[in-house]
């Protein structure tokens, strides 16, 4: 697919994130913007999903469930949820909460408790292998999510069983709810940790859609290891006053901030 189409998909994800979080007066904006280009690359190009209930579809697990708004935007842009449904984000009786609910079309696993999605993805990848299916499993985790022990339980399992149909993308934005990861619980050297756990490790720019797509293509040649794609990202990417700012983990936007943000992502 042409790169400008994917970049346009990214732009639309960012636009929807800002519009919906502003309307709903809900936070987690920075985390969603951080993964917008990854989600765009997956949904506009990488994932083989004819329909969200096709058993042979690729699976996608948003293990960092608090970036759900980026996923909802993609599901809407794919046409699997309507604009009207999207507009219920953050309202009473909605299926579009702060974290993805399984009953929403396109959500394979409900998440929200960090680390669990990695474990679900491992089971999903094993299932595909047992069923001799070509389908792949993609799981998007946050860097701070690697604080969770379950991530490493699943990591050991996936590498022991050579789940090469499993692609984990780490959103390495270097910050978490209350601080920078280097100050809270230092993850470095993250690439070496994953290598030591037996994964096929790649370090990329998580805002370069072309690089995201090509690295996933290259991974196909390695049939012996699960793939860890460590994507360097900027928290709040695209909105200057949010970038790398801890406050924007939870903070909602004012009217002035919203209009400035919308102008900035246009550029």
């Amino acid at each position: 697919m042409e790169i400008n189409i994917i970049q346009n998909f990214s732009y639309n994800i960012r636009r929807i994130i800002l519009e919906r979080s502003y309307q709903a007066h809900v936070g987690h904006i920075g985390s969603a913007l951080s993964v917008a280009d990854i989600i765009a690359s997956l949904y506009a190009d990488v994932l083989n999903i004819d329909s969200p209930d096709d058993p042979s579809r690729d699976r996608f697990v948003l293990s960092k469930g608090h970036a759900a708004l980026a996923l909802y935007a993609a599901l809407c842009l794919k046409g699997w949820i309507s604009r009207e449904i999207l507009e219920t984000y953050g309202q009473d009786n909605t299926l579009l909460g702060v974290h993805p609910e399984r009953d929403l079309p396109g959500v394979d696993f409900g998440t929200g408790s960090l680390g669990m999605g990695m474990s679900y993805a491992t089971g999903a990848a094993l299932a595909a292998q047992l069923q001799k299916s070509e389908r792949r499993v993609f799981v998007l985790v946050s860097d701070a999510e690697c604080n969770e022990g379950i991530v490493w339980e699943a990591a050991m399992f996936a590498s022991h069983h050579k789940l090469s149909n499993m692609y984990m993308i780490i959103d390495l934005n270097s910050q978490q709810a209350l601080g920078y990861t280097k100050d809270v619980l230092d993850l470095t050297p993250l690439d070496q940790k994953w290598q030591a756990f037996g994964w096929d490790v790649h370090k990329i720019d998580g805002h370069n859609c072309g690089e995201i797509i090509s690295v996933i293509k290259d991974c196909r040649n390695n049939k012996k290891q699960p793939h860890a794609i460590i994507a360097n990202t900027k928290f709040g990417k695209g909105v200057s006053y949010m970038e790398n700012q801890i406050k924007w983990h939870y903070w909602p936007m004012s009217a002035v901030e919203f209009h400035q943000a919308m102008q900035e992502i246009e550029q």
Binding site: T122, A127, L130, A154, M156
Partner: protein, 306 residues
């Protein structure tokens, strides 16, 4: 009951290719036959119970029926949140198999005892909970329910147990009755029912005749059976290899209160933290007043003072 479990599992696995067994590195001399017959559907996922439940969720979403196996507290308490957010939340056919009811791992100490698993898991909507009283009932329960669409927790005894009066009967949502005396009722769950049977025999020798209601299907609970058996009875006793909070004693209390039944309740089970000494399961049960003879004496005393 471990042997009954594996025999049942072999049977259903030979009929249905979706059935898998995943162990958390436990089951020596239990799982081998399954491993040999169905190598593609057997997995030792290592000592990682949280991942066991997460894996099983992923497998079940793709159409498998995974049985995840370990010692009860390891497969229920350690991964509780995974049970909640995985198979329960997604309503998937994961089978959680816990070995050990109460203090059956006697010498191994509190870490291995199952004392609050029913209480914890009974809070989960849609989670079926089955605690068989003997091997034949376990076999029946596993085979009858294996294609149930939602998740099931099997609380299995480590020991071989036979209660001939039960005839291996099991029906989801129903209880099984032993005897029909009206002097007292014991509502019992699990293999400790053998002690209820002994106590009832002793009491019968003393001219006091009661009924034992065996609740293997803790969720869905056999509410109608419990209400019916309590009609016209002044005092009901509950018996479980579990803390008295949260298990069958609490279940009966809820049913009595919600139905406004005029009946007194005494709960037999573990009432305090078991962190002082260890020993055989029989010695710990006797020490806590849960052996057949002690139960008979306790019941007689309560009835005398009524």
């Amino acid at each position: 009951m471990r042997n009954a479990f594996i025999q049942s599992l072999l049977k259903i696995a030979s009929q249905d290719g979706r059935v898998m067994l995943i162990t958390g590195d436990l089951g020596y001399l239990v799982v081998e036959e399954f491993m040999e017959k169905f190598p593609d559907r057997f997995l030792n996922a290592g000592v990682a119970e949280q991942n066991l439940l997460g894996l099983a969720t992923g497998l079940a979403e793709a159409g498998f029926i995974p049985f995840v196996y370990s010692i009860t507290p390891f497969i229920t308490l350690r991964p509780f949140e995974f049970i909640r957010n995985g198979p329960v939340y997604h309503n998937l056919p994961v089978r959680i198999v816990g070995i050990g009811q109460g203090v059956e791992y006697g010498m191994n100490g509190l870490s291995h005892y199952a004392l609050e698993d029913i209480g914890v898991l009974r809070t989960q909507p849609g989670l079926t909970i089955i605690a068989p009283a003997d091997d034949a009932q376990a076999k029946n329960a596993i085979e009858q329910t294996y294609h149930h669409p939602g998740p099931i927790y099997f609380r299995l005894s480590k020991e071989k147990t036979t209660i001939p009066e039960l005839l291996g009967n099991f029906t989801l949502g129903e209880a099984q009755q032993i005897g029909n005396g009206r002097d007292f009722v014991i509502v019992s769950t699990g293999a400790i029912t053998t002690e209820a049977v002994k106590a009832a025999q002793t009491l019968s020798d003393w001219g006091i005749n009661g009924t034992i209601l065996v609740v293997a299907s803790l969720a869905p609970a056999p509410e109608k059976n419990i209400v019916n058996v309590l009609a016209g009875v002044n005092h009901v006793f509950t018996l479980e290899a579990h803390y008295i909070t949260g298990g069958v004693g609490s279940l009966v209390a809820e049913i009595i209160a919600e139905n406004g039944l005029p009946v007194r309740l005494t709960r037999f089970g573990f009432t305090h933290l078991l962190n002082k000494t260890v020993g055989s399961a029989a010695s710990i049960c006797a020490e806590n007043g849960l052996s057949g003879d002690k139960l008979a004496a306790r019941i007689q005393k309560v009835l005398q003072n009524a």
